[in-house]
Amino acid sequence: MTWLKSLAYLVGLPLLLMLIWWAATLGRPNFFFPAPGILMDTFGEVWFGERILSDVLPSLGRLLTGVAAAIGIGIAAGLLIGSIKWLRALLEPTLEFFRAVPPPVLVPVLMLLMGITDSMKVVVIISGCIWPVLLNTIEGVRAVDGVLSDSARTYGVAGWARVRYLVLPSASPQIMAGIRQCLSIGLILMVISEMFASSSGLGFTIVQFQRSFAIPEMWSGIIVLGLIGVAMSFIFQWTERRVLRWYHGQKEVENAG
């Protein structure tokens, strides 16, 4: 019964919106807002064919590569910069500068440097995704509790063991918050990196449809993007609940007490 209830909560609003949309388009065909039925048909035709192989999967591949690299590099560099005081003092102003540069402006520059390649697109994604992970990791590493740190020291937990058993788990709530931001930025940059002078990918396809006035097709592409976003968010929440089980539990106990 409970899963039925959660399913109802999950699809309730989307179904209602579809219904409103359907009612609104009923008997008043609008070129820019196709009826849900037409859109569904188009969705199947456009995306369950060779486009999965030629556009969707390559885009997803670049997105995952970029996001994974950003998370990996961000955490590793964050641990290093957060742990070494002089390094932090040295790098922080510069990091703030690079973070402030909007990643889309890098697309033309990187295009010149790297050509219109997969690596260029992945680098665009990394260049935007890395900041929330990096800066959150630095903050998390800095905020390791003093008593906990002393405890670890008195028991000889040092070096890599300290990172693994103390610093990383202690910073994990902040790191996860950074990863959450990183995912949404990643999706945006995936699309943007494919909008300039590209010849394949989700972003390219949607712009292409728009320019050729294939309006239902364009809408169906936007829906694909939305669904990818939702899927990523679900995977993230599932992972986060597992990784931070202790954190949420502890917060609950604190709030109850």
Partner: protein
């Protein structure tokens, strides 16, 4: 007043604090937390350190445990100078909620120092089981620390220290943040563990009753800048219990004496030796 001064130490001390001084450098000038402390702990001794608040108890403990470098003087553990946290020393902190790893279950918390030292799995399991049994927590190995009450969390911290098999156990006001009943239980637990393992214990507290009830010896600190006000032997029977021991005339006498000394310390009275030096 019938109070025994500490006898001359013959054997090699387990822990030796020599002329310890700690000055904090702050923007507002230097703050002298500890002026000159010298004392020895014999192997297997259970000594309590009491002093008025702000007498540098925690500073002293941090210097002994190697977490802080003294400005002058030195700490010797079994004849070796302490320069960083020594291997054969365990510390139990007051803030139990912040000294256990909240992302690890009880068992993992107790096990971590052993795992980190490379103790083989079978040996590790045995030590952890014994330690959890000794503190009465054998039934909650899979709980997270934050799921337990404050007293139980402090038991986990004690189990972790016990499993580590230290030669010296330092305790920094470990029961200051638990309720009175739990506190009495934990005091008895410390006595039991100490009698069983005969580990050298230095127990820092601001509670006079606790120091007399627990210790075989009480070291009283003066107010800041800190020196030793007095160092007395607690000649109460070895088997102690909360009701009978605390009802003994001798307990009251010793308690009275320590209380007086602390009051003197608060008023700024300093022992003759300190005034000279």
């Amino acid at each position: 007043m019938l109070v025994n001064e500490k006898p001359a130490v013959m054997e090699q001390p387990m822990l030796s604090v020599r002329g310890l001084k700690k000055v904090y450098k702050t923007d507002g000038g230097d703050v002298e937390a500890v002026r000159n402390l010298t004392f020895d702990l014999r192997p297997g001794e259970l000594a309590c350190l009491v002093g008025p608040s702000g007498s540098g108890k925690t500073t002293l403990l941090k210097c002994i445990s190697g977490l802080m470098t003294p400005t002058e003087g030195e700490v010797l553990l079994d004849g070796t100078r302490v320069v960083g946290p020594p291997k054969k020393m365990a510390v139990v902190f007051q803030e139990y909620g912040r000294s256990l790893f909240p992302w690890m279950r009880v068992r993992q918390n107790v096990e971590l120092p052993l795992k980190n030292q490379g103790v083989p799995k079978a040996e590790r399991d045995r030590l952890v089981d014994e330690a959890l049994e000794a503190v009465g927590l054998a039934h909650v190995p899979h709980s997270y620390p934050w799921q337990l009450s404050g007293g139980m969390q402090q038991r986990v911290a004690i189990a972790r220290a016990v499993a580590y098999q230290p030669e010296v156990l330092l305790m920094d006001e470990p029961f200051a943040a638990v309720d009175a009943q739990t506190r009495a239980d934990l005091e008895d637990l410390i006595r039991t563990v100490w009698k069983k393992l005969r580990v050298t214990v230095l127990f820092v507290t601001h509670d006079i009753d606790e120091s007399v009830y627990l210790g075989e010896r009480v070291i009283i600190l003066s107010s800041s800048p800190t020196v030793i006000q007095e160092d007395i032997i607690i000649d109460l029977p070895e088997d102690r219990d909360q009701l009978n021991t605390r009802a003994l005339p001798r307990f009251t006498e010793l308690r009275h004496h320590v209380y007086e000394q602390i009051q003197l310390a608060k008023k700024g009275h300093r022992p003759a030796a300190a005034v000279v030096s």
